[in-house]
Symmetry: C2
Subunit: 293 residues, 2 copies
């Protein structure tokens, strides 16, 4: 029996565009985890060996799996996408090895006649959630965020997925343009959010957005509610467009954003289950570790 580096404790890094989170995992248990703002946009192209050494100095001199934008053309190295449909074995087979105990997980692509889509990092969460029994092998999974992923699982594999720029549109509209001065308030999961979800069912975003301005000018809605309404409108449009098949929806998210999507799904007649996205990521790293151990 060859004992490989990945048969014991490992480090898993969810390395995104603006943040990263490091997990030290022993067995299937997280013993230490830490988030910092050193996403790939904060690291020089040749800075990764030193970053990885620094992570090992802090979290333990252990084998390491890196996932997310670290494997993109703005990260450490551009790791080719693996085409869907795919399961955990194909993901492990596509690892890009830096050295014998350091590897980057590939992203996933869809490239059919009518559609093109990509993900990097979410594949570890969603297949990890299946491996850990947090999500059934046949399900619709929602991963909210700047670029919200909607994944159709079939037989435990990623069959298809769609990315919606929902979070980015919210951020753009809040920071720039006509509506920006109305959108200072915090988003809350109240009646304004639900009104927005309801408006989102019309899937007429450009007109519904101007309605936010008109509602202010005509005294219809207080600006304290405008951000919540906008959030509901964008999440509601996203949800309404995605429900082409029946069944429950599994949301991999932090609790606050997960709750907003769960409400929007309920308003569209769906039952939603919020699953902790960190637990799903860790389960994915553990599952890949087992496949290469």
């Amino acid at each position: 029996v060859v004992v490989t580096p990945f048969s014991g404790a490992v480090l898993g890094v969810d390395w995104g565009t603006t943040n990263r989170r490091v997990f030290r995992i022993e067995g299937s248990t997280v013993t230490t985890t830490e988030r910092d703002p050193l996403g790939v946009t904060g690291i020089a192209r040749n800075g990764y060996p030193a970053e990885v050494a620094a992570i090992r100095a802090r979290f333990g001199d252990l084998p390491m799996l890196l996932a997310g934008m670290v494997g993109s053309n703005i990260g450490w190295r551009s790791v080719p996408y693996v085409a869907a449909p795919l399961g955990m074995a194909a993901l492990a087979g596509g690892l890009s090895w830096i050295d014998e105990r350091t590897a980057i997980v590939p992203g996933v692509s869809i490239a059919t006649v009518g559609r093109a889509d990509v993900m990097r990092g979410e594949e570890v969460q969603v297949l990890g959630a299946v491996a850990a029994g947090l999500v059934p092998p046949d399900a619709l999974v929602c991963q909210p965020g700047t670029h919200c992923k909607w994944v159709t699982l079939a037989g435990g594999e990623i069959l298809d997925f769609t990315t919606a720029m929902t979070g980015e549109l919210f951020a753009l509209l809040r920071a720039h343009g006509l509506l920006s001065p109305q959108l200072d308030a915090e988003v809350t999961a109240g009646s304004a959010f639900r009104e927005g979800v309801d408006a989102g069912k019309a899937r007429d975003l450009a007109a519904s957005l101007f309605g936010i301005r008109a509602a202010k000018l005509l005294g219809r809605r207080d600006d304290a509610d405008a951000a919540s309404y906008l959030s509901g409108l964008l999440i509601g449009s996203d949800v309404t467009a995605r429900l082409t098949r029946p069944g429950d929806v599994y949301i991999l998210a932090d609790p606050a954003l997960g709750e907003l999507y769960a409400i929007a799904l309920a308003e569209n007649g769906r039952t939603a289950h919020v699953v902790d996205s960190h637990a799903a990521f860790v389960a994915g790293i553990v599952a890949i570790g087992k496949l290469i151990a």
Copy 2:
């Protein structure tokens, strides 16, 4: 017979947010017109009397009708909206008089249970187009721009209208965010624009937008075509959402933008007629002038 100031030559000013256009009109003919970047955002609240005097010094010491954002809370004075449905007489009745030969045309509002919308300036164009026979009295009228207006005319009156933030979304996405670096090229009315229009039929904007990124990453579309595709997507979504009634569509626009909307309408099975928006505005000023003369 009382001879009023408005029985002879008049000045009409289309005074928008970032630009204004002055027309000197004799009878129904424009003898001089000029556009400059002195929209209301470029003029201090107390600067309007001097601006109006300067216009008269350049174009003639004539009675003057002002329309557009000059009548808003960021303009000279906030002129109350007149509620639709309304025709030219109600518009003339809602004039806000600065002095006996200077008046601001009111904007129009919709405020029913389910909908709130406003316009300022477009009402002069659309009712002017009807008055001049450029548009039939029962028609769907499209006024493209930063905030595209779609007006349902019935019996020569504005029955209903919807504003879509189509142009503003294009500008926001071009200037900020993930897609911005892909969107430098000029928009052209070619196959990429038509592909975008086709994608817009799905009315799934947030997902179609991310598709622009994915198409680049997977080598599906050159960035030279991305801006045209985005324009098609946004205009196509707008058009598709608006075609709830059969019939031809009348576009009040400058020729370039009018052509893009005409193509999108044709791709959705509609015949479009492009009408010069300056001629429509002038006809509106002439018609109001007659009503108050």
